[in-house]
C-alpha cells in the first residue's frame, strides 16, 4: 500500500497545473480517488460529513448486483446446455457463461468510462463514480447474444444523451442504463426480442434439441401458450431464458436485502412497485377475459425483469421521486403500468423498461404536487391555529 501511495504521490506533480500532463488531471484524479481517500479537508461550510460518499454508495450497489450477475452467468451456461441437450455440470456451465458475459461487461465499462473521462476533461469536473453501477447494469439487462459493438454504441448514447447533456451525474432525467436498453430495443429490435435470449452457438457435432423454442415466459404468454409456461418455482429461482441478470428473482432479492440493509435503496419504492404490479395483476385476474389475464397475479413478479427493475432500476436515487409520498405514487404507477403494457400490448412483451422510463419523466411532477400539497396543508393548519385569536 505504501509503495503504491508513493508512486501516486510521485506522479502527481506531472498532472497538476503547469505539469506535463495537465490535460489529463481529471483522469489522474479519478484513479487517485479510486485508490486512496483524498487528503483534502473542507475549507468552509459544514465540516461534518457522512462517511457514505458517492463512491461508497455506488460500491454497495455493485455488491448488491453480484448475486444476480453470478447467477446470470451460470444460467447462460445452463440454458445453453439445455438447448443443445447436454449436461456438463454447474462449474462448466458457469465458465461458459463467464466467457460469454465478461466481454459484455468489459465493453460496457470501457466505452462508458471513455466518454465519462472525455467529458470530465473537457468540462473540468471530477469523474463521478455513477458509471460504476450503470456500466454493470447495462450488460445485466440485455440478452447474452447482443453483439459487442451494439453494447458500445448504446452505452455511449446513454452516457452522452442520457447524462452528459443534462450536466453529468446527478442531473439526468432518465435512468442511463435503461436508456441504453431502450436505445437497443428500438434501434436493433431483432436483437432484443424474439429468440435471442439463449446463446445457441453450436460447436461441431452439436445440434439443438427437438422442439427447442427459447421463448421467455412473457413471450409465451403474449402468444397465449400458457401450457408451456415453466413452473413458478423455476421462474422464482431463475432457470428460465431472459436477459442475463434479470431471470432470478431469488438473486435479485438477495441484492435487495443488501440495498435495504445498507440504506442505499429505497424499500418504499421496491414495495410499492410490487404492490402496484399485484394490484393490476389481481384486477386482470378478476376480469379474466383471455388466458394472459387468468394467470395468478404473483406470476408477474417472478417473470421477466419485474424484480430486477423494481430493485435496481426504479430505486435509482437520481431519476426516482424524492419525496416520501411521491415514492409511493411513483412505485405503484410503475407496477401498474408494467402489468398493463405486458398484458394489453402484444408489441411489447416486457413493460418494465418502458414503465420505469415513463415514470422517470413524471417523477419531478409527482414531487411538485406532493410538495404543493404539503404547503397547502400547513397553510390550512396555520389558518386554523390563528382562527381563535381573530374572533
Amino acid at each position: 500500500m505504501k509503495a503504491l501511495h508513493d508512486i501516486v504521490e510521485k506522479l502527481k506533480p506531472h498532472f497538476e497545473k503547469g505539469g506535463r500532463f495537465e490535460k489529463f488531471y481529471r483522469s489522474f484524479e479519478a484513479f487517485e480517488t479510486f485508490l486512496f481517500v483524498q487528503g483534502n479537508v473542507t475549507r468552509r461550510g459544514s465540516h461534518i460529513r457522512d462517511a457514505m460518499d458517492m463512491k461508497r454508495t455506488m460500491v454497495h450497489v455493485v455488491i448488491a448486483l453480484v448475486p444476480a450477475m453470478l447467477f446470470g452467468m451460470w444460467n447462460v451456461g445452463a440454458q445453453h446446455d439445455q438447448a443443445i441437450g447436454v449436461e456438463t455440470g454447474w462449474f462448466d456451465q458457469f465458465l461458459f457463461g463467464l466467457v460469454r458475459v465478461l466481454p459484455l461487461i468489459v465493453v460496457s465499462y470501457v466505452s462508458g468510462l471513455a466518454v465519462e473521462f472525455l467529458f470530465a476533461s473537457i468540462r473540468n469536473h471530477e469523474v463521478n463514480e455513477g458509471f460504476l453501477v450503470t456500466g454493470l447494469l447495462i450488460p445485466l439487462i440485455i440478452p447474452v447474444t447482443t453483439p459487442l459493438w451494439m453494447v458500445a454504441v448504446a452505452t455511449v448514447f446513454a452516457v452522452i444523451i442520457g447524462k452528459e447533456v443534462f450536466g453529468g451525474t446527478g442531473m439526468n432525467i432518465l435512468n442511463p442504463a435503461l436508456l441504453a436498453r431502450a436505445f437497443l430495443f428500438f434501434a436493433y429490435p431483432s436483437y432484443l426480442s424474439g429468440e435471442v435470449w439463449i446463446d445457441t452457438t453450436l460447436q461441431e457435432g452439436q445440434q439443438l434439441v427437438d422442439g427447442f423454442s427459447g421463448a421467455t415466459p412473457l413471450a409465451m404468454l403474449t402468444l397465449g401458450e400458457v401450457v408451456n409456461l415453466p413452473p413458478p418455482g423455476d421462474m422464482f429461482l431463475g432457470t428460465i431464458p431472459g436477459s442475463i441478470g434479470e431471470t432470478s428473482t431469488l438473486a435479485v432479492l438477495l441484492g435487495a436485502l443488501i440495498l435495504v440493509a445498507t440504506g442505499v435503496g429505497s424499500l418504499r419504492i421496491m414495495l410499492s412497485v410490487v404492490l402496484g404490479g399485484l394490484l393490476m395483476g389481481t384486477l386482470f385476474n378478476l376480469l379474466a377475459v383471455n388466458v394472459y389475464m387468468e394467470i395468478p397475479p404473483y406470476y408477474h413478479l417472478i417473470m421477466g425483469g419485474f424484480a430486477f427493475g423494481a430493485v435496481f432500476m426504479a430505486t435509482d436515487p437520481v431519476s426516482a421521486a424524492q419525496t416520501g409520498t411521491g415514492k409511493y405514487v411513483y412505485g405503484v404507477l410503475i407496477g401498474v403500468i408494467t402489468v398493463l403494457i405486458r398484458v394489453l400490448n402484444p408489441a411489447f412483451p416486457e413493460g418494465m423498461m418502458l414503465a420505469i422510463l415513463l415514470m422517470n419523466v413524471f417523477a419531478p411532477l409527482i414531487d411538485h404536487y406532493v410538495v404543493q400539497a404539503n404547503i397547502r396543508r400547513r397553510l390550512r393548519r396555520l389558518g386554523r391555529a390563528r382562527a381563535p385569536i381573530k374572533t
Binding site: 453483439p147 454504441v153 444523451i161 428500438f186 434501434a187 436493433y188
Partner: protein, 219 residues
C-alpha cells in the same frame, strides 16, 4: 413610409442586406435558435431526398411570399393582414404542390400531407409578420430566402444522418459498403423513428452553441 426615405441609396448587396441572408443560417437560425418549424423536421427527414425537396419548396414559397406581401404591404388593412398572408402562402403552396405532383410524383407521394402543411410552418408566417410587412421587396426577398435556407440546411443535415444511419443509404443509393454488413453492422432502426430526429436536432443545436457562445442563454 419613413424607412423608405432614410436609406435611399442602398446597394443590392450592402452589408446590411447580406446580413439578412446570412444571419438566419447561423446566429438567428429559425430552427436552432428560434426553435420554429420543428414538426416538419421530425416528419420528413427520414430520407435525404425528401428533405431536399422540402427545403427547396420552402425556399421558393418563402421567397415569393415575402416579396408579394412586401409589395402589398401598404395596401393591406392591418385588421385582416393575417388572412391575406395566409391566402398568399396557401396559393404558393398549392403551386408548389402541383409542380411536385407533375414532375416528381414519387417524392410528392412520400411528402404527402406535409407539402400542404408548409402553410402552417411558423417560420413563414413569422417572417411575413416580422419583416415583409415593414420592409421593401428586395430586403424582404433576401430575408425570406435566408430564413428558408437556414431551415433548409438543418433539414438536410438531419436528413443526412437519419438516412445514413437509419437506412444505410444516401439519396437512395447504398452509402454504407456491403462488407460492413457482412462483418455484423446493422442499420439503426431508431434513427427512422421521430424521437431520433429530435435528438439529432438537439445535437446540432448543442454543437452550434458550443461554437458560438453568444447563443447560450444564461439569463
Amino acid at each position: 413610409m419613413s424607412e423608405d426615405s432614410t436609406q435611399p441609396t442602398e446597394t443590392l448587396f450592402s452589408v446590411k442586406n447580406r446580413k439578412l441572408l446570412t444571419n438566419p443560417l447561423g446566429p438567428e437560425n429559425p430552427i436552432n435558435v428560434q426553435v420554429l418549424g420543428i414538426c416538419s423536421v421530425l416528419a420528413i427527414t427520414v430520407q435525404l431526398q425528401t428533405s431536399l425537396v422540402m427545403a427547396i419548396s420552402v425556399v421558393a414559397v418563402m421567397g415569393f411570399a415575402n416579396v408579394i406581401i412586401s409589395l402589398l404591404r401598404k395596401g393591406i388593412p392591418p385588421r385582416i393582414r393575417i388572412i391575406v398572408q395566409l391566402t398568399v402562402i396557401a396559393s404558393l403552396v398549392i403551386l408548389v404542390d402541383q409542380l411536385l405532383k407533375a414532375f416528381v410524383y414519387d417524392i410528392s407521394r412520400q411528402l404527402s400531407v406535409f407539402v400542404g402543411l408548409i402553410i402552417t410552418n411558423c417560420i413563414i408566417m413569422g417572417r411575413l409578420e416580422a419583416f415583409a410587412l415593414h420592409n421593401k421587396p428586395w430586403p424582404s426577398f433576401l430575408d425570406g430566402i435566408g430564413n428558408a435556407a437556414g431551415y433548409g440546411w438543418v433539414l438536410l443535415a438531419v436528413g443526412f444522418f437519419r438516412e445514413l444511419f437509419g437506412s444505410g443509404t444516401l439519396m437512395g443509393y447504398q452509402a454504407i459498403p456491403g462488407f460492413m454488413y457482412d462483418i455484423g453492422y446493422e442499420n439503426n432502426g431508431f434513427m427512422i423513428l421521430p424521437p431520433m430526429a429530435l435528438i439529432t436536432v438537439g445535437i446540432i443545436i448543442w454543437v452550434q452553441r458550443y461554437k458560438d457562445r453568444r447563443l447560450i442563454d444564461i439569463s
